[in-house]
Each structure stands twice: as structure tokens, then as C-alpha cells.
Amino acid sequence: MATNRAEAYHWPDARGHFGPYGGLFVPETLMRPLDELRQAYEHYLQQPEFLAELDADLRDYVGRPSPIYHAERWSRELGGAQIYLKREDLNHTGAHKVNNTIGQALLAKRMGKTRIIAETGAGQHGVASATVAARLGLECVVYMGEIDVARQEANVYRMRLLGAEVVSVKSGSRTLKDALNEAMRDWVTNVDNTFYIIGTVAGPHPYPAMVRDFQAVIGRESRAQMLERVGRLPDALVACVGGGSNAIGLFYPFLDDREVALIGVEAAGEGIETGHHAAPLCAGRPGVLHGSRTYLMEDPDGQIIETHSVSAGLDYPGVGPEHAWLKDSGRAQYVSVTDAEALAAFHVLTRTEGIIPALESSHALAQVIKLAPTLRPDQLILVNLSGRGDKDMHTVAAQEGLQL
């Protein structure tokens, strides 16, 4: 650990605020259930038996620790820094999402809930939720925007195979934000027996902190693995940011290591200047949506506007409140890459290293393509390969005019 820090990172505060962000902006019906959830989360995350069960599940069911992989050939081709990949794509169900659903499902079980609900964009969180529900014998309903249902049909089928009911959401923009609205409506209605597993570090307190804590296993492992493998911490961490759970999971254990640069990569879609993007930190402003104050994409009258990204998992007009705070405080920097840049990076990694990345993770890879050549060969970049690209075959093929 660095020794010269002025003050250790300590957010959120007792009421769930990260500086001016975060908080608890929900209808009255949810105030008490959220307080019960906060108490359960604070209690069990200190309890040795709970943590032991969580660790065992992460090891035996998810396959953790996930390795870090030195992408030597790609590093050589880019001619700059050494690039390491944190292989969350190798987790059971194919992405980092399961780290969180395992944790929340264990909480649901301890709280006596018999039914879980989830929202999903790309379908990875929906699959990860359906997976843990199947394993624990819980009823599971997944809300998914109608547009995402169409572009991620393989994941829809996987969820149904796992026994989940997938509800196609036809309101609003019919994507992730509307799925989240619909899941909230379900929760308000069925709050007595239902646990809402939010898939990212967004939503009302305690979700942003709780999901972060479950995902922080990514950063804890990475930190230890880098120290063991190369004897020092990386110079930069790079991760894609939609809601921001894989990025926070990687960044959080490094927040007090001031010498490590933290770079979050948003989806610039067709280009920030076109307005067709999903980059609230780069091009939005603060507001209140889905239970917390954070950067949003909104029009001048405070209406949330539709987003665009080739990647369903990044197609969200808000972002976790902790990222808003890390941006304002200057601890992390946020950049954006376009659909075209992400697709190019997708192909490069596939051809150079034999690893097919998710389109979400490809945004982080595209930033590495820009960053690595500006660094020396003895410098280190660790990028979170948050998911695998199997789910994106149809989307990538369609970009090339092919139909699978």
C-alpha cells in the first residue's frame, strides 16, 4: 500500500452519499425495505460465515480467482506499455456480473426472500441472476427492454432455459433504463417476498456501495496478482463504464494507490458530437434518476434522453454515483470511444490473442489501443476484460452485413 496518502478513501457516508452524489431518491414504499436491505448488507458483510460461503461459491461455482493474462503479442504490436487482461470473461456465465448476483442472492436467502427480480441490458446480468436463482431454487423474473430482447436473443433463451421468466418491457425507450423502471415497479408491488438484484453500481443506497463491495473481488485479486507476477502495481487501470460495476470493482481496491491512473471508458456511440451516445460522464450533467443523484443524459427540461451504443450493456443514460464522485474529485478520468473504435478493438484482440471479448469490454480495449503506444515498454496497463463476446456474434456479424 502507498504510504503517503493524505486521507484514506471513505465513501459513501452513512446516508449513501458520495460527495453530492448517490443518496436515496425513491418512493416512500421502498424506504423501509431499503433500510432493511442496508442493515442486512452491513451485518452480513462483517459476518465470517457469510463471507466464507461467498468465498467458497466464488471459488467453486464461479471459478475464481480469474487469471491475469499478459497479452504479449498485442503489447508488442502496439509498441508501448505491457498490457495485462483481467480475465472476468472466464467466469461462469461469461462476465463479471455473477460476482454480484452470487453475493446478493446469498443475502436474499438470509433475508427469507423467495423471489428475485432483475433488470438487464445485454442480458449478462439477467443470465447471472437466473443462474443463481436456479441454483438456490428461487423464483426469478428478469425485465429486459424490447429492443434488447431483439438484439440479445441468445441470452433471452439462456435465461428461459435456466427457468427465469423474461418480461419484455415496451415502455419508454425500451432499453435498460426502462427495464430498471419496470423492475422498480415490480419491487414496489411485491416488496414483501421479493429481492431486487440490481446489476450495477447504480440505484438507491445501499446498492451502489453493496454492488461495489461484491465486485471489488476483481480489484483485490488484480492487486495481489500484479504484485506477485511483476512485483509492482500497474501504471494504469482501464475499464468500460455503463452503470460502472466492472470498473468500480477493479478501481476500488486501488483508490488509495494514487500512483495508479484510473481510466473509465464510456460509449461514444456514433460520436459525442452526434448526440447519439451513452456517455453521461463525458457529455451529461448531474440530475436524479433511478434512486440516486449522478451524471445523466437529459434534455434542457430534465427529461432523460435516449442513448445509443452498439453494446447493449453500455446503453444507459446514467452511471453509478461513485463514478460521478471519482470524476469530480479527479481521482479517476473518464473518456469515451465510438462504436467503430470498439468494433475495431474487438477484431484486433480476437485476431491477435485468440480471445473474443464482449462489445462492452471492447470499449476498454479501444482505449488501450490509444493509450499503450504513449507509454514506455516497462510501463503496465491492466484492463478489465469484463466479459466474453459469444453473446455478440449476431451484432458483430450484422455490422459486416452477415446474418447468422
Binding site: P27, G172, V288
Partner: protein
Amino acid sequence: MSRIAARFADLAARGRTALIPFVTAGDPDLATTVPLMHAMVAAGADLIELGVPFSDPMADGPVIQRASERALAHHTRLRDVLDLVRQFRARDAATPVILMGYLNPVESMGYAGFAEAASAAGVDGILLVDAPPEESGELVTLLRQAGIDLVYLLAPTSDEDRIRKIGAVASGFVYYVAVKGVTGAGHLDLADVNAKLTAIRRLIPLPVGVGFGIKDAETAGQVAAMADAVIVGSAIVGRIEALTMKPEHIPGAIGDFLAGLRAAIDATDRARGLK
């Protein structure tokens, strides 16, 4: 005394339970809203809740979601809603108007600017579904200074601590959400509602309105027996939706529907008066 407090005091003196209809401003168009508000008053509405459309109405069921979408399809903005209230005030200086909606459009306008503009337009109260007391301290202060009541929801899940906390900041009246769920959902358990209202009255000295799940004259009459105000939203908005192609018929049709609710509430009030 605020217009809301004065109205409830007057109703209490007359033994009359308030009828509060909810409509979404700008649904199906801006031109319909003000004539509709006047028609509702003529049919027996005592206060009016005017919905401010929002793109992500997470506490609303499908009927009011679609009303928001219709209003937003022609870009009804918060400033347009305030303009409608100003127009309504030109002919009706007595009926309180409460805006109901979500925080972000207000936050986007700026709390101070909103408080000033709303007060100038003749708004009497505001209910922001996603702004609990813990998160609305600054807004409460500014609205109080502007003479605007802040109306809060209470829910079946609100325990004594929360009822007290809300009682400490609420003014005008409080709104009890009679069912767990979104607007327009579920069915009322009158015994549960009655028990909760008793608990609320013990802790909060304000009139208590009851809404969510009141669909017809029968339930309106039943709720009137226990509440200070009967709040009806989705049942009205659903009737507006059926007439979106003939908006000129909306004020008359909604007036007729409200007159039926009013008659049932009056019957309850008369029966209580005879006891």
C-alpha cells in the same frame, strides 16, 4: 394560511370530504388541460393534482405512464405546466393546485427558480414521488419561503419513525398510498387502510388523503368514510386515454365521471353527519 390549509379548514367545517382528481398536464394536449381543470371543479373537485410528465415515471402504472408519454410526445415542459396553472388561476382563485411528479425536472430548472416560478404561477403544493424528506432539505426551505406546501406520500410500509419524520416536514396534507404498488394497481383492503390512517392521525396533525386503487364511485364512497380526501388518478386518466382522438369531449366526460364520485362521497358524508 395556505390555500390548501384554508380549503381543508372550510371542508372540515362543512363536514365534506375532499375529492382530488389527478390528471397529467398536456394529456392529450396543452389546450385540453385548463378547460378540463375547470370542468373538474364544476363537477365537485375540491383540489386538483396536476401531473408533471416525466420520461421515467417509476412509481406509475401503465395508464399514467402512457399519459406521460402522450404529454411528452409534444414536449410538455415543466414551464408549460406552470403556464397552465397561471391560465387556470385567471378564472379560479380558490381551488388549490398541487403539482405531482418526479424530482429531476425540478432539479433541472433549479430549486430556487422553480420555487419562484411556481409561486408566481399560483401553485399551492408539490408532491415529488422520489424526493423523501432526507433528500429534500434545501427544497423544503425554498418552497416554504415561497409559500408552497410540500405534500408527502406515506405507504403501507411506513413505520412510526417514518410517519413522524414525514410529519415534521409535510404541510398542507399527507397522501396515504393505500396499496403496495404503482398507481392504478391492486385492490384496496379497507380495514388495513383504516388501521393505518388511525396510526397516521395519531402522529400527524394534517388532513390525510387516500389514493392508489380508487377506481369507481363505490370505492370512493367507502374511502370517504375514513379519509379527509379521496384521490383518484388512473381511473380518470384511463377515460382521457379513451378520448384522445376527441379531446373536445374530455372535459364533459371527466366532469360526468367525477360527478358520480362526488355523489357517492356526499352520500357517505351525509350518513356520517346523521350519526
